[in-house]
C-alpha cells in the first residue's frame, strides 16, 4: 500500500492523488485513536489509528511525506488551547512512524517530516555551500522536478537538469521541485524550491510510481 501523508496546507496535486491507484491519504485530521501503537524498539509492528481503521506499518510499501510538520491549523477538531500541543505530539509521532522500514519519499530529517527541499532559505544556503549559482531575480523562468534520477518534464536543458540534480544531492532529496532562472553571464541559477507534491503532474506521478515499484523490488 502507498500512503500519502499530507496536511491542510500545500495539499497534494490532484494527479498525485488520482494517479497512484489505491494510495491512502492520511492527514492529521484523520489520525484518531485508538489504534496507534509505536514501540521504537519494534517499528515494523507499529500501527497508526485513523478514522478509516488501523494502518499497519507492515502493510505499507511506500510513504509520500507531503508535510513538514503538523500545525494547529491541521486540527480544527481539537479544542483551541490544546491544538498546539496536539500538533507537536502528532508531529513527534509521525517522525517516529516514518522511521519504519518502508520507502519514504523524502526521508524525514530533524525538524521536517518531508525531508529538506521545502524551505527556500535552506535550499539557497545549501546551493551556495555546494558552489551552485543562485539568483536574486524576482521571477523564475522554469520549474523542474527531480524524481530519483529523472528530471521532468523530459527534454529540459541538460545544464538546468544537472543543476537540479546537484541541488538535490546537496539537500539529500529523492524528489525535488526547483525553480530556475537564467542569468546572462552565469547561465542557469537556482531561484528557489517549492513543494514537489503540489507541482506533481501526470508525468511526475508516473515517475514516482516507477520509483516506488523499483524500491519495492
Amino acid at each position: 500500500m502507498i500512503v500519502i501523508v499530507s496536511g491542510s496546507g500545500h495539499r497534494p496535486a490532484r494527479p498525485l492523488l488520482r494517479g497512484l491507484g489505491g494510495a491512502r491519504l492520511v492527514t492529521p485530521r484523520t489520525l484518531a485513536g485508538p489504534g496507534t501503537r509505536c514501540d521504537p524498539a519494534d517499528l515494523p509492528a507499529a500501527t497508526l489509528g485513523t478514522r478509516c481503521g488501523t494502518l499497519a506499518a507492515g502493510d505499507v510499501t511506500a510513504v509520500l511525506a507531503c508535510l513538514p510538520a503538523v500545525t494547529p491549523w491541521d486540527l480544527p477538531h481539537i479544542a483551541g488551547p490544546e491544538r498546539s500541543f496536539v500538533a507537536a505530539e502528532l508531529t513527534a509521532l509521525l517522525a517516529l512512524w516514518l522511521q519504519a522500514p518502508a520507502l519514504v519519499v523524502n526521508r524525514p530529517v530533524p525538524g521536517s517530516l518531508c525531508g529538506r527541499g521545502l524551505d527556500p532559505g535552506d535550499a539557497r544556503w545549501a546551493a551556495v555551500q555546494a558552489g551552485l549559482p543562485i539568483t536574486a531575480r524576482s521571477r523564475a523562468e522554469t520549474r523542474l522536478t527531480l524524481v530519483g534520477d529523472r528530471v521532468l518534464p523530459g527534454g529540459a536543458d541538460p545544464a538546468a537538469a544537472e543543476l537540479v540534480r546537484a541541488l538535490a544531492k546537496a539537500l539529500d532529496a529523492t524528489v525535488l521541485c526547483v525553480r530556475l532562472a537564467r542569468e546572462p553571464d552565469r547561465g542557469w541559477c537556482v531561484h528557489g524550491v517549492e513543494p514537489w507534491w503540489q507541482a506533481a503532474d501526470g508525468e511526475v506521478t508516473a515517475a514516482l510510481g516507477a520509483l516506488i515499484a523499483e524500491g519495492a523490488r
Binding site: V86, E89, P110, W125
Partner: protein, 295 residues
C-alpha cells in the same frame, strides 16, 4: 564577530552574555523582542545592519517570538510578529549552513522535538533508553504497563511539561488518551544526573529528589556537582557529537543496581537551574570567544 540571538533577559542567555563581556568581547545581540529583518546574508535592526559572513561564533536560544509577552503586550505586536515570523526561518537557515561555530544548529536542535525518535539516536550512541511506547490506545498501554510495571507519561514533543506516573486504572484519563497519542516509558527508579556537555568538556550534577520529576516547584531537591564514573564523560561527549550538538544537557539516571539510562539530550539546556551554572556559562563563553577572529 560573536552573535547571540534570543531573549537577553532569559537567564542562560544573560549569563553567557555576562561571561563574554568579562572576556572583553562585544557580541552582536539580536533581541527577539525587537524588529529585525534578515535578507541575503544581512541582518538589519533599527538603524544598523551586519553582514552574517562576519559571524565566527553564534549562541542561539530563540523562542517563538510571537508568544513572548514583550511582543504580545506591545502595541506594535502585529508588526513585531510579522518581523519575527520572517526573520526566524531566515536566521535558522543561515545558522544551519554558516561556516561558523553555532551553538546549536537548528537542525541538530530539532532532534529533541521528537523524543522517541531522538531515543533511537541515543540508543545508537550506546546508551540504554527506557522501554517506550507512543500510543492513544488504553489497551496497548495496559499491556505495556503489565509488562513493565510502573509507567511514566511525558510529552513526546519538545513542549515542556512535567513527567508523571501514569495511572492506567483511571477511566477518565484512559478515555482522553484517544484524543492524542502520548509517550509512555517504563519508570526507572534511581538518582538523576544532569550532564552539561560544552564542546569536549562536561559538567555533571547529581540531583536527589523524591519527586518523579525533580523540576516541579515543590520537589525537595538537593543538588551537588559530581565527577562522572568510568567512561561516561567520553560517552556523553560522543552522544552530543552524534546529535550534532556543541552544547547539550543530557539527562541520565542511575538505578540502585548501578545501571545507567539516558532519557534525552536537551539542545538548549536551562543550565542556570543547576548547581555549577557559572562554570557552564564560562565554558560556553570560552568556546564562543575562542572562535572570534584573530586581531
Amino acid at each position: 564577530m560573536i552573535l547571540l540571538w534570543g531573549h537577553p533577559e532569559e537567564r542562560p542567555f544573560a549569563r553567557v552574555l555576562r561571561a563574554l563581556h568579562a572576556r572583553g568581547a562585544d557580541p552582536l545581540v539580536l533581541d527577539q523582542r525587537r524588529p529585525m529583518t534578515v535578507t541575503s546574508g544581512t541582518v538589519r535592526t533599527a538603524g544598523a545592519s551586519w553582514d552574517l559572513a562576519g559571524v565566527k561564533a553564534a549562541y542561539l536560544r530563540p523562542y517563538d517570538a510571537a508568544r513572548l509577552p514583550a511582543v504580545t503586550r506591545s502595541p506594535a505586536r502585529t508588526a513585531l510578529t510579522r518581523h519575527a515570523r520572517r526573520a526566524a526561518p531566515a536566521l535558522c537557515a543561515w545558522a544551519d549552513h554558516a561556516p561558523a561555530l553555532v551553538v546549536n544548529r537548528p537542525s541538530a536542535s530539532a532532534t529533541n522535538a521528537a523524543k522517541a525518535c531522538q531515543g533511537l539516536l541515543v540508543e545508537a550512541a550506546g546508551f540504554a533508553v527506557p522501554p517506550s511506547l507512543v500510543t492513544d490506545d488504553a489497551r496497548a498501554l495496559a499491556e505495556f504497563a503489565a509488562e513493565h510495571g510502573a509507567v511514566v507519561v511525558k510529552p513526546g514533543s519538545g513542549i515542556r511539561a512535567r513527567v508523571a506516573l501514569a495511572d492506567v486504572h483511571d477511566p477518565d484519563r484512559m478515555a482522553r488518551l484517544a484524543t492524542c497519542p502520548t509517550l509512555f516509558q517504563r519508570h526507572i527508579p534511581g538518582e538523576d544526573v544532569r550532564v552539561h556537555v560544552v564542546g569536549d568538556r562536561t559538567f555533571a550534577v547529581r540531583l536527589v529528589s523524591d519527586a518523579v520529576d525533580y523540576r516541579v516547584r515543590d520537589a525537595a531537591l538537593k543538588q551537588s556537582t559530581v565527577e562522572l564514573p568510568g567512561d561516561l564523560t567520553e560517552r556523553c561527549v560522543a552522544l552530543a557529537r552524534a546529535l550534532g550538538l556543541v552544547v547539550a544537557g543530557i539527562d541520565l539516571r542511575m538505578t540502585p543496581e548501578g545501571d545507567w539510562f539516558c532519557f534525552e539530550a536537551n539542545p538548549a539546556p536551562a543550565f542556570t537551574f543547576f548547581a555549577g551554572a557559572d562554570q557552564v556559562a564560562e565554558a560556553i563563553a570560552d568556546l564562543l570567544h575562542a572562535h572570534r577572529p584573530s586581531s
